[in-house]
């Protein structure tokens, strides 16, 4: 199981700014190990953020997203004290969901 995400959600001027830092290798499948064998691709394919059961952002990713991915976006309507959930799924079927309280 991958390490937890670090999620920061801050309400300001009627919108919530969300910053997410994920812990993932994001292996491209292009690299070779010491013995010259290709290292299989292992990367986050899908990510979605929900607030009060509503999807506020969803994304599909390829292998070009950097290791330990960073993502920032903003949505309208969220208030201090409410919670958001973020879920990612990688190409091997691993999955992780974390929550954060809006500040």
């Amino acid at each position: 199981m991958a390490d937890p995400m670090r999620i920061r959600a801050v309400a300001k001027d009627g919108a919530v700014n969300v910053k997410i830092l994920m812990s993932h290798e994001m292996e491209t499948g292009q690299r070779k190990d010491g013995a010259g064998k290709p290292i299989p691709a292992h990367f986050i394919q899908q990510i979605s953020a929900t607030w009060q059961g509503k999807v506020v952002l969803s994304a599909n990713w390829g292998t070009a997203i950097s290791k330990n991915p960073f993502l920032e976006f903003s949505f309208k309507g969220g208030k201090k004290g409410e919670r958001i959930q973020v879920t990612w799924t990688d190409n091997k079927g691993d999955k992780r969901t974390d929550e954060a309280t809006i500040n």
Partner: protein, 156 residues
């Protein structure tokens, strides 16, 4: 009598096969989820194929898309890219890197109520044009910027 028995067996066989398929589907929910992932677009080796697979075969250059990215990236493994669309009715934002082994880096769906802007970090194999593609009111718009890389982000 034999006829009926055959029919029953046949129907039973069909039903159990269906149940088996459904069970197989139930056991791998992530496979069903990944169906939304546009494999053809993400595996496209060049820019044109990636645009085509996204349905953006025809697209207009737009000054209403703002890309925030460095002119020169010292480390191609971590290049910050910000993409903001000022186009009304923005539905999705995609980032494409012309000279990467696969051009499409990411595609974001922007639901109503979410601001049409995202920031992330990408890998650049070498100096390349980077494109931000925006779908707004069913039409595609694009802007590009060249980013120079001194150390590549892909490969060993």
């Amino acid at each position: 009598m034999d006829q009926t028995r055959r029919k029953v067996l046949k129907a039973g066989g069909g039903a159990s096969l269906y149940a088996l398929l459904a069970a197989a589907g139930m056991m791998r929910p992530e496979a069903a989820l990944a169906a939304d992932w546009n494999q053809k677009a993400f595996e496209a080796k060049n820019l044109k194929d990636a645009f085509d697979a996204l349905g953006a075969g025809s697209r207009a250059e737009s000054a209403d898309i703002v890309m925030t990215a460095p002119e020169i990236a010292e480390n191609g493994a971590v290049v910050p890219i910000g993409a903001v669309s000022k186009l009304p009715g923005t539905e999705s934002i995609a980032i494409l890197i012309a000279k990467n082994p696969t051009a499409l880096a990411a595609s974001f769906d922007i639901p109503a109520g979410t601001e049409p802007g995202v920031s992330t970090r990408v890998k650049l194999a070498e100096t390349s044009d980077v494109y931000v593609l925006v779908k707004a009111q069913g039409k595609y718009y694009v802007t590009k910027k060249e980013i120079k890389v001194t150390i590549g982000g892909c490969g060993g």
